[in-house]
Amino acid sequence: MNPFTYARPTGIDEAVSLFTPDSRYIAGGTNLLDLMKENVTHPEQLIDITRLPLKDIEETTDGGLRIGALVSNSDLAWDARIEQHYPLLSKAILAGASPQLRNMATTGGNLLQRTRCYYFYDADTPCNKREPGSGCPARDGLNRIHAILGHSEQCIAVHPSDMCVGLAALDATVIVKGRDGERRIAFADFHRLPGNEPERDNTLADGELVTAVELPAENFSTHCAYLKIRDRQSYAFALVSVAAALQLDGGVIRNVRVALGGVAHKPWRNPEAEALLVGRPADKAAFGELADALLAGAIGFNDNQFKIELARRAIVRALSDAVEGAV
């Protein structure tokens, strides 16, 4: 860990004004401190935002919820409004990390956690995401936990979050604040694919601070499922995860959403394919078609070919489970 300075502002504008190119905002620190200790990230300044007034969950005028960026993952998952109206989000959060980590980790920080690629974490190996241009040993190395969709020559890492998979399915909006004011970013546009800039995980501009996440009124509380497939029952990142949400009308699909985790550099959706299912019976044939569409163009590597078939099965299973209720 390199020496750094530390600031603890109390206001949002003050926090944003303190930002310099080698600064990092820190809240729960559950990922950033690891990255610093592992010599992956070397901020010269940490701006501690835990005193900022971003800890509330409030109802929005259009019937949704606005979640402050500093609401802890635990508080969010166990919030009565979330449990009742957005069970998919609650289940996705509780599928991630461990109780201790969820107590510390925040809503904003969860969005910004970085990949778990082994090479990214080992500063003594090449990695284009950590050190642009140094190479990607994962392509020909250990890639069982890596991407099958949306990867590039430069990077095959995946986004590790569960919460974000739920937020992607719910069409959340990310609210950010920078020196030039506030911006609203559709969840699908917040994270990005690696392309030729794998060092950039998201579309935040330098110094922009996530202040809130907004959930729309449409909550899929009747039919939803979060299915996480992993190598052990807890405290493991998803090999594949599926956030599935349905609105049904007597067994007929009125609306469907599916987001995938563990397969790409961002939560993976295909709204066009989802739209094609509207009006179809909620059965395995329809779910299989959506799975095929979501996985179209999937390319695996040496160790992770299995994820393609696994994802297909998981999508069908999660949607089938969602037909039964909120599971």
Binding site: M1, E38, N39, S234, F306
Partner: protein, 734 residues
């Protein structure tokens, strides 16, 4: 019995439990010392080659950094192999840290940065620049099989004619299993705190399973005979990782000698992957049986990796020659040297791998012959060890099968795979036999009565969390006839009476026997002493006719005739006895072992392949159990690790880089609480007067052996799939 109620055999709480839960038990990396400096190790980033240049200037320029040690400026160390050969060394040339510019494996220690704080040392270490001359490396066992040669192991020769018997066998299986590299990963990382004393001698708090092993190692490597004392009061798990001195120890000593200061060096978790491990292996088995399931022949070959500088061997194949009755057996063991560090004993070394393969093959044979897996094993039971040509001193394995099967409900099992489904969950029941040796080593112990009348017993063993403090206190209390609270057992100091390494499940057998003998002799000596008094009422009394209570020695039939123990101690000076015990000659005519029958239920999701071990029954025969509570803890820990071996553990190496990559506990998976279902431990008591005077065989290893096979066999029963490559991850079940 000379005591009213013996504490031996009782499920007593750990005597060190309160200290541990209150945080008062100090571990090697926790002892505070005035002016202590902290070292951080720099590791190589290539697998093979030479260091051309290390630029340490930036690190040395950091305020608070006292030194950067490399092969160029370290203090003198021995150059020949002999001084580095510790009690658990493999054949060959032991690794010599910072000896020269050669890189023998990736992540080898190449420098030590020493500073006023750990954080500072770690930061300065990140500023060091190393220039290498890289050479081509080979780290993959599977692609280097042409390099294999016969292991320097003392295998039994061929028995009968396995080849011909296999040709004639009515039922045959020919299978290959592969097992991965695993690292020990005790919760407590290795650490050494070196106290530099004013006279230049060293007291070292070290995490080890052998304080005298580490003392001799340092004495020899640094030419400091009589100037080293090792202290290890507590160990936070070791599992074999502390059987050899690990490199943080000599590095910390180098820094202390160079700076004439006290120094601590601890491994970061990532650095726990930079020394010994369980070797990757290929196990090839061919088994033949008659149509009714009588074994006719076994061929078992193991191929395992080792380093280029040492030939690490363990008992991988011997089990196939001794566990069952089989007239024709051929065993073979090959090693492939690679550009890696030397493997290291890890819980039930060799047995964990070899019995896994043997017991999976037995299950495959059971299905080939259409015989119930338990019945097949019962049919082939033997109480004779054909490798050694000796009968077992005791082997209650049939009782283990019977009691384990009964508790598990095995009789309700249907033989066909995929025949026990419940919704999306495929249910599988599998079992396996476990086995470990019941060894005994020479050991000594000292017993004395202190000024308060308390019995103090000591030996230079350790307590790696197994309950040594507790069971030795029980054994001493029984042998002396004292209540538990009047006995204190001390360990973990190289100045104490000689003890072997704590490993191999032989601590109770070896040190326990010495403790027992020392206390029995002290009891005699006390009686002798009081008999010296003129007109002593104790004249002519035998040890059986006396007893102790509340600090008094008295005659059982005449309790009013008594002497206060503190008075004896005060009048005669300290009453002290040191006793040594060697394995008894009676053992020579027998083979000795612990055995188990492990029954496992798994639930496998039919779509996703996710496996959950919902329950395990382990029935263990290990002689007399000194403390059923701590012994049961040992078996449970072994079962959990067996589940881990079956489903989770694998240190993954990138062979392009020759480097282990999942070097953290987030990515190196062991089970979490949610992965473990019910574990039911049964002890099948054996009365064994041959194994040692205590009749106790030790339970440190037996808990893990066979578990991975039982899980794998259960998965086959659930899914109909034989996955012969550990760990059984869900992708292999798709």
């Amino acid at each position: 019995m000379t005591v009213k109620t013996s504490p031996v055999g009782k499920p007593l709480d750990r005597v060190d439990g309160p200290m541990k839960v209150q945080g008062q038990a100090k571990y090697a990396g926790e002892f505070p010392l005035p002016g202590l400096l902290y070292g951080h190790i720099v590791n190589s980033t290539i697998a093979r080659g030479r260091i051309l240049h290390i630029d340490t200037r930036a690190a040395e320029a950091v305020p608070g950094i006292e030194a950067v040690l490399t092969h160029e400026n370290r203090p003198p160390i021995a150059s020949y192999d002999k001084p580095y050969e510790d009690d658990d060394a493999a054949d060959g040339s032991p690794f010599r840290p910072l000896f020269n510019d050669r890189i023998l494996y990736n992540s080898q220690p190449i420098a030590l940065v020493v500073g006023e704080s750990l954080e500072l040392a770690r930061y300065a270490a990140s500023l060091i620049k190393v220039e290498y001359q890289t050479e081509e490396h080979a780290t993959d066992l599977l692609t280097n099989l042409d390099q294999m040669s016969t292991a320097p192991a003392d295998l039994p020769g061929p028995r009968g004619d396995a080849k011909q018997a296999l040709n004639n066998a009515a039922v045959k299986v020919e299978v290959q299993y592969t097992t991965p590299v695993e690292h020990h990963n005790p919760m407590e990382p290795h650490a050494s705190t070196v106290h530099y004393l004013p006279d230049g001698t060293l007291e070292v708090y070290d995490k080890t399973q052998g304080v005298q092993n580490c003392m001799r190692y340092l004495e020899d490597v640094f030419d400091m005979e009589g100037q080293i004392r090792i202290l290890t009061p507590f160990v936070g798990g070791a599992f074999g990782s502390g059987l050899r001195p690990q490199h943080q120890l000599p590095l910390a000593v180098m820094a202390a000698l160079k700076l004439k200061r006290s120094v601590r060096v601890s491994f970061a978790r990532q650095q726990m992957f930079t020394f010994g491990y369980r070797p990757r292996s290929i196990q090839r088995l061919t088994m033949g049986a008659s149509s009714d399931g009588q074994l006719q022949a076994i061929y078992h070959q193991a191929i395992a990796q080792t380093s280029r500088f040492e030939d690490y061997t363990e008992q991988q194949v011997e089990w196939s020659g001794m566990l069952y009755k089989c007239p024709n057996v051929t065993l073979d063991y090959q090693l492939v040297p690679l550009d890696v560090y030397t493997p290291l004993d890890m819980r039930a070394p060799g047995g964990t791998i070899g019995v896994y393969a043997l017991e999976c093959a037995m299950d495959e044979l059971a299905y080939a012959a259409n015989i119930d897996p338990v019945e097949l094993r019962q049919k082939n039971f033997t109480d004779f060890n054909a490798n050694e040509g000796k009968p077992y001193s005791s082997k209650a394995l049939l009782e283990c099968y019977e009691q384990g099967a009964e508790r598990f409900g095995w009789s309700k099992r249907t033989m066909a795979p995929r025949s026990m489904q419940d919704g999306h969950q495929l249910i599988g029941w599998g079992m396996a036999t476990g086995m470990w040796e019941a060894m005994q080593m020479p050991a000594s112990a000292k017993a004395c009565i202190d000024a308060t009348g308390k019995l103090i017993v000591s030996s230079a063993t350790t307590d790696i969390g197994t309950g040594t403090y507790t069971v030795m206190t029980q054994i001493a209390a029984e042998a002396m006839g004292f209540p538990m609270d009047q006995v204190e057992f001390k360990l973990g100091d190289s100045n104490m009476a000689k003890a072997p390494l704590q490993g191999g499940s032989f601590t109770v057998s070896s040190v326990g026997s010495a403790v027992q003998k020392a206390c029995q002799e002290l009891r005699m000596k006390l009686l002798d002493t009081v008999q010296q008094t003129p007109a002593s009422p104790f004249s002519g009394k035998t040890p059986d006719e006396i007893d102790f209570a509340d600090g008094w020695l008295f005659i059982k039939d005449a309790p009013e005739q008594r002497v206060k123990l503190t008075d004896i101690a005060a009048e005669t000076g300290a009453l002290e006895v040191e006793a040594s015990v060697e394995p008894g000659e009676v053992r020579d005519g027998y083979a000795t072992g612990t055995h188990s029958a492990v029954f496992v239920e798994v639930k496998v999701d039919e779509d996703t392949g996710m496996v959950k071990v919902s329950r395990v029954v382990s029935a263990v025969a290990a002689g007399r159990v000194v403390n059923p509570k701590t012994a049961s803890n040992q078996i449970m820990g072994g079962v959990v690790w067996g589940v881990s071996q079956a489903l989770h553990e694998e240190t993954q190496m990138d062979h392009n880089l020759g480097r282990f990559m999942n070097h953290s506990l987030a990515e190196y998976h062991i089970p979490v609480q949610a992965d473990i279902g019910d574990i039911d431990v049964i002890f099948v008591e054996e009365h064994d007067e041959i194994v040692n005077a205590l009749g106790s065989k030790g339970v440190g290893e037996i808990g893990i052996v066979g578990v991975a096979a039982a899980v794998s066999n259960a998965i086959f029963h659930a899914t109909g799939k034989r996955v012969r490559d550990l760990p059984v991850t869900l992708d292999k079940l798709m």
